[in-house]
Amino acid sequence: MITPTLQHYLVVSGLLFCLGLLGVLARRNLLVVYMSLELMLNAANLALVAFSHFNNQLNGQVMVFFIITVAAAEVAVGLALIVAIYRKRQTAHVEDLSSLKF
């Protein structure tokens, strides 16, 4: 067992990003897809904080602060959109929302 370095954190971040991507591509519930998106954003945050720590700079942490704020705004708007879709179509399922599919 060795002391964790930047690479360790980046591996965790990359794996988490892949998990989120899998969720976005494979799950069919709009809400779970949205949660997977949050997982991907969090993976990016982890990578930024790790870079910031191992480079002795705070710029990465400021970036993460901004990302968290934008993610919160995005969640609010996205969930309002999902509720609006549900009100109109009575479904929150990706396969039922294929009007634009070629």
Binding site: G23, A73, A76
Partner: protein, 170 residues
């Protein structure tokens, strides 16, 4: 001899990945509420990782904003919608296969980048410790303009949400 922070890193990283997996692909339950709960656990483990990286302020913000506000919003919307119908559906095998291939491709790219990267010249010396005060100073001097733009963004999001969730006017 591993020290406590090292052991904590491995434990927290393991928890983060385990809970993240249970969030996106829980083999026992397809209920969105379960996913949301595991996402909360993932975010809290990640806040622990932030503490290990000495980003105390961000760890607190992570717990307050994500595990608090955002997840409450998620649960609220899940309760608002009818989720009983969702559990009956089967997984789409083709989507799962294509998704798996895409994920493996991205993972391969990440591994290749990590292997080929030259290790960072270990930035010795003092770490940026107890970072709340310097972080605040940086936020209100160098990053003041983005900070103000962000507040406008929050206002826009707020107005947009109110407009979207309002009943249509005659």
């Amino acid at each position: 001899m591993p020290t406590l922070p090292d052991l904590l890193f491995y434990a927290l990283a393991g928890f983060t990945l385990l809970f993240g997996f249970l969030c996106v692909a829980n083999p026992f339950s397809r209920n969105p509420v379960t996913s949301a709960m595991f996402l909360v656990l993932t975010i809290i483990s990640m806040a622990g990782l932030f503490v290990l990286l000495q980003a105390f302020f961000l760890a607190a913000v992570q717990v307050l904003v994500y595990a608090g506000a955002v997840m409450v919003l998620f649960l609220f919307v899940i309760m608002l919608l009818d989720i009983k119908e969702e559990e009956r559906r089967r997984l789409n095998k083709a989507a799962l296969g294509i998704g798996g291939v895409a994920v493996l491709a991205i993972a391969g790219l990440l591994v290749r980048a990590l292997v080929q990267a030259t290790p960072l010249a270990s930035a010795a010396g003092q770490r940026a410790e107890g970072s709340t005060k310097p972080l605040g100073r940086l936020l209100f001097t160098e990053y003041l303009l983005p900070f103000e733009i962000l507040s406008v963004l929050l206002l826009v999001a707020m107005v947009g949400v109110i407009l979207l969730s309002k009943k249509e006017m005659k």
